[in-house]
Symmetry: D2
């Protein structure tokens, strides 16, 4: 991902310093002539990044050594411009605004991955609207559903997940500028003017007040990322379960060398779906750390803010990886329609038990119908026969239904209820 | 809280069963004459709740024994109506829709608590807009701020927290109705009609498709609750720190018997603020559990949904308790303005160091000014003198500033920057 | 569970108050004649528990109103004895020591559940030591294993989990007694003597110093509980996966009414295994809350300790429920040996691919053997033939192996390596 | 930290491959002549680590491309040796055993940091055994304690934390070797012999059976790390609170450039203590991820194991950083004994209220004494007088105590109870 790399993070910090100088010049706080030199010096590829990293441990944050190097770089260009670097700001102003820049870049990439995942799953929803397969509840076969409806469920949650992330980002795209204690006193009367120019240069919004120890906007983004990982984790888990050797209804088509095993030549591991599952195991706790860090003391935290530094980037990376892997998986799976139908017949076709109850309900009360079918199911299981065989020879059933009616009742495609209508609504909402 | 109590939860389940019957009668799926008896029987105070709880362990969920008891209660009123109880539904339809009803009730109470907290903090923001106090960063005194600005920060985040919860709830206020596998096949062609009537009876929205294993709407609410706890936890932490014996800037006014100690008669513990902190320690992990439970298998989970059952109610309770405690604390704190000013003079008034840098910056470069003041601060600390005393005798300072200018520079009220403007914007946005 | 119920918790608090009085009488701090009345009054069934609960919110903790009621109860027996109730102690002394008593009771029940789970799984390990079944990695069939080895893995981790919990409990079985600030100053010179007698009366250990804000012993217990939930969650997940309709290798035998569905008469949901999975989803975050609460301020926390109050009991309950459900599941599952063997033949028997590589490795290099078998596997999958059929007609294979050798190589029971030896070692370590 | 760096992790993987070859040669599974070439080729500095990282995404884990490169490197030395690389093993064998090697290295460094932290805090415990300071509960001043007792509490928990980590590591220092499905079938009859030789070469223990999907040993280490972070987080929080400008009882002595601010020249931020707090905010969730990942499917996980890969190293790094920062902080803090005594007199010396109750208890009942002193405390607070002034003029008090007795009762050093005895015990246990 081209965001939250070491290089991009350093560059964002420098972009913020450059925008600050430009904004202060616009507001007349510092002379306009110094801006070009500051901007020219603010190039991460000219810095000794290893030295910055090691000095930051001592200083307590990474901006302190960065400002020092930037001042030197500006001084080398024009000595009297150096004093205007980082003028009136505090480290957190730079770090938080750079975080927002990185989030903007990263969320765009995640949005793209979610869009690709949606496109991939919409194709399945449309193509397999009437492809019957076993519903599965508590990991036991249940009444039939369609692969299209399963895909529509994925699509619907992906769509909401994408909207949610966009909404959270919209709220978070504001600069942070507060100076030492959040009053911008160091800028005298020019605080508001500088803040507005600063935001304009970075194409970000202006908050009503600085937010250095009010982290809810960032944490809201974290939550949206975490939910996206939950959504893709559910897709990944469904795919892995469907890809089981004994189920075999979908398969991740591997590229050469992908998903192989060092021990077993036949293996084709569903590595992309597993990546999404692993992301869904990790993301909840990364979100929790962001939440746990929220009670930040007074005007700048003693622990909570510092806990965010490694956590938020990792959450973004995990989310991007999960969404991207899901998009890839969804675009490359092979769907085995025959296997889906075969599996519905496995175990005597008991998955259609409710369908038979429904058919009988016209003639006897629903609880009575359920009792009859429960008895048939037990018999079928005990005698290793199919539900169809047992039903067709049962007096109670035969009294209510003719053989063709029984046949029809036990046909999965006849018992799909509103599946097609649901798929249609979901596709209309999210396009595809 | 009048939601998520054992009684309210049982009643919500029964309300959902009653609404389902009414909806199915509207759609012609079951006869209209049975609805009144089902509704009349659906009263939690008539049920043996202890028996339901113990039977639910065996059955795997609480709806199974509930439906059994409800059928019996209906049968007692009219025998042939019993068969129409829970017609065509599955347990999760009832549990999830009842969860939404409870969330609606609870979120209204939380919204009210947040509104009260906002009103209380808005008063402080307005009343103390110019009350200078030490800013504090890394728990060290920093440049001054005002108590009004601190309160404005609380207000701003409370306002966003409230909006965020409202938005999340808006998305979550939809019925769940899917039947065995989410196709509503048990309702034949009437699935959509029943779902719409069901929603109408409960005054909830209609989702595009059932969402029994797509939990993102609920988890979004969970996240909004968790963020609200983070917001109130930050307020609680600030209050507890300000209430420390050595700081003494605010105090929770206790009612008799409140916040006392069994050992020490002088104690007045900030119990409400601590309640908010404790909530902010617990909520992140409850949110994480909701996120971790998201990858739910196929059409109904084998673990994840079940993990939600105790978690979501507890998260709601913790959030309500935190928000309510915060509202109470904010409405009852005593603010000690004199102490705020005294504390700014403590430790030689070094908190004004940046103010002196700013004053000097007109005459020398800002880095030079910072170097001068850093020297003065070290001298003041070493000699136990005030920054003012050291500054007024320093040749460099005297060259740049007259004694009245030094005096003015070190007056906290002169170094508050945009604090008033920020407060004004926040109050305009959130009223109060 | 007969621990951490509301009643047992109130009684433990009262037991601690009674033991404190007895210990103080032993040390001569209070008169011996008051002890019998305090002990007689300290019976939870005589208290108005609802009133205690509601007053505790105001006071900040539940001991404050309890001591008040206890004093009144003692006064009713003998007026001048009331003053010796809770003498020199602070609320946290009572709460923490009562927590230890409840943990002792609960951990004994959890230990018993783990022992039952071990006994149940040891039977499977022994009985199925040579029952071949598909190994499964990344949820794809892999080289065969035995059901006995799978059970041995469960047993081994259950055994370690049980030892770990016992060890953590051994460290935690100490009284807490520190008075207001942890110095026991309220007891004058008698602090150590009282602490020792207090411990003796409760059959607990004596810590080197009070630990009211050093929570590591309790958190160590929490971690051991969490790991036990992870161990049982793994067993639960394996069982649910094996019980899938399409796999069908084990089945939870339900009692009547157990694991049924309100919609589908054929369902037999694995409710006990799912309980264990749900516990493993919840416990990690409950442990995390206990960890997150550890940085407790100075001599008594402002948030962290309070966050423990509901968390630790819930973690204990979840663990007991998970361990008990696992023990029940393991004692009641039906193992379908025929199905295990059938599944190994499914999908062309590719699960034996590595076995064929091993057989070929005597003749060609292992990487070459792997390349040959990889080719055969691709052919078998493409042509829907078995690995055996493809192998027996392959020139490379035939050059190296005779038909009986191929047959033997592809017999699962011939490719179980050290499984029996591993099982043997595990059974010897943990008995059974 | 010289462990869990990218380079050290690659080298550990290669060390494991080399040891495997040596072990297999010892057991006669592969020829002895190939070992030297494999060992010689297994040097991370000869590999293209960037290529390995990028290929690992495709393959699903990092061992697959590593083995490929290692085979090529061996082939370059001696063509027919290449086939014996990674013989009969699976990727997870290598990854897990290398993880154990890295944990061994890292835990030794963490143990060293904990030992340094213990030594530093033992000095304070001894030097300040009788240095009175305010106890603080709920962040309000309480009865006095000593700085030595506070330090003893830190020492005691550090000692237990260190022992706990050592014990967890002892249990985890075992090789993982199971082959494709955990049976070691690929090694024929030599499984046990190879496993023992493998362990001998790496100086690790032999487990009773492979543990590739039984993660409790590793998670136990994770829990011990998390608890260590909780212990150091508590120390960090105490230090930061004591270092507050208004408290000023300890101060982190900064090296030049350490803990400074880009805005305020007077700042000396407690960066080391804050590092420990930040670690204690992050670690709980990293532990929770390890716990959440435990229910790993069958013989190799589809998600849980993969979630560990980045989590465990990060937890180790966070723990090392926290322990090291704490050790540094404890060795470099300045303790301001005068300030400690001054703070006890602040707010009218009310912190001694319980001491006065104790003194009065000889004459009146303890509850009566508490009632008297509570009244005095309210009067003192209302009239801004000291508790001493109010007490000396109170008729009830004067009836019971003479002025010198009152004076003595309100002397902090006279009300330290068993503090010295507790410190003594803790120092005797942990040395120092």
């Amino acid at each position: 991902m081209e965001a939250f790399t070491p290089e991009s993070q350093w560059q964002s910090l420098l972009d913020v310093e450059a925008a600050l100088a430009a904004a202060e010049a616009d507001a007349g706080v510092i002379p306009a002539w110094c801006v070009a030199d500051i901007r020219a010096a603010a190039r991460a590829d000219q810095f000794d990044l290893a030295a910055l990293t090691s000095e930051s441990t001592l200083a307590g944050n990474i901006v302190i050594p960065l400002v020092k190097q930037l001042r030197e770089a500006v001084r080398a260009r024009r000595a009297d411009a150096a004093q205007y670097v980082h003028y009136g700001a505090t480290s957190q102003d730079i770090l938080d605004t750079a975080l927002v820049l990185e989030l903007r870049a990263a969320s765009s990439l995640i949005d793209d991955a979610l869009a690709r995942a949606m496109a991939g799953t919409a194709l399945h929803a449309r193509a397999h609207a009437t492809t019957a397969m076993a519903g599965r509840t508590w990991l036991q076969q249940a009444s039939p559903t369609t692969f299209g409806l399963k895909a529509a469920g994925w699509l619907d949650s992906l769509g909401r997940g994408r909207q949610r992330l966009q909404a959270a980002m919209t709220g978070a795209l504001v600069v942070q500028l507060g100076g030492a204690s959040g009053t911008l006193a160091s800028l005298g009367d020019a605080g508001s003017a500088v803040m507005e120019a600063f935001a304009r240069h970075l194409e970000l919004g202006v908050p009503d007040m600085p937010w250095q120890s009010q982290r809810d906007r960032i944490v809201h983004v974290a939550a949206a990322l975490g939910i996206a990982c939950g959504v893709t984790g559910k897709i990944g888990r469904d795919l892995v379960l469907l890809a089981q050797t004994e189920v075999g209804e979908v398969r991740e088509r591997g590229m050469p060398g992908e998903g192989t095993s060092t021990a077993m030549p036949h293996k084709q591991n569903p590595v992309r779906a597993v990546t999404a599952i692993a992301g869904a195991i990790r993301a909840p706790q990364l979100v929790a750390t962001m939440l746990a860090a929220m009670p930040q003391e007074h005007e700048r935290a003693a622990g909570g803010w510092q806990a965010e530094w490694a956590t938020m980037p990792e959450l973004v990376r995990v989310t991007h990886e999960s969404c991207d892997a899901t998009a890839q998986a969804l675009s490359q799976i092979e769907v085995d329609v025959a296997r889906m139908r075969d599996n519905l017949q496995a175990r005597g076709g008991l998955a259609l038990s409710e369908a038979l109850v429904s058919a009988l309900s016209g003639q006897v009360s629903r609880p009575d119908a359920a009792a009859i079918v429960e008895r048939l199911c037990r018999a079928a299981a005990a005698e290793q026969r199919t539900l169809h065989e047992v039903a067709i020879h049962d007096a109670n059933v035969r009294q209510a239904l003719s053989p063709p009616q029984i046949e029809s009742a036990l046909t999965p495609e006849h018992y799909l209820g509103s599946a097609a209508a649901f798929i249609d609504r979901v596709l209309r909402k999210w396009g595809g």
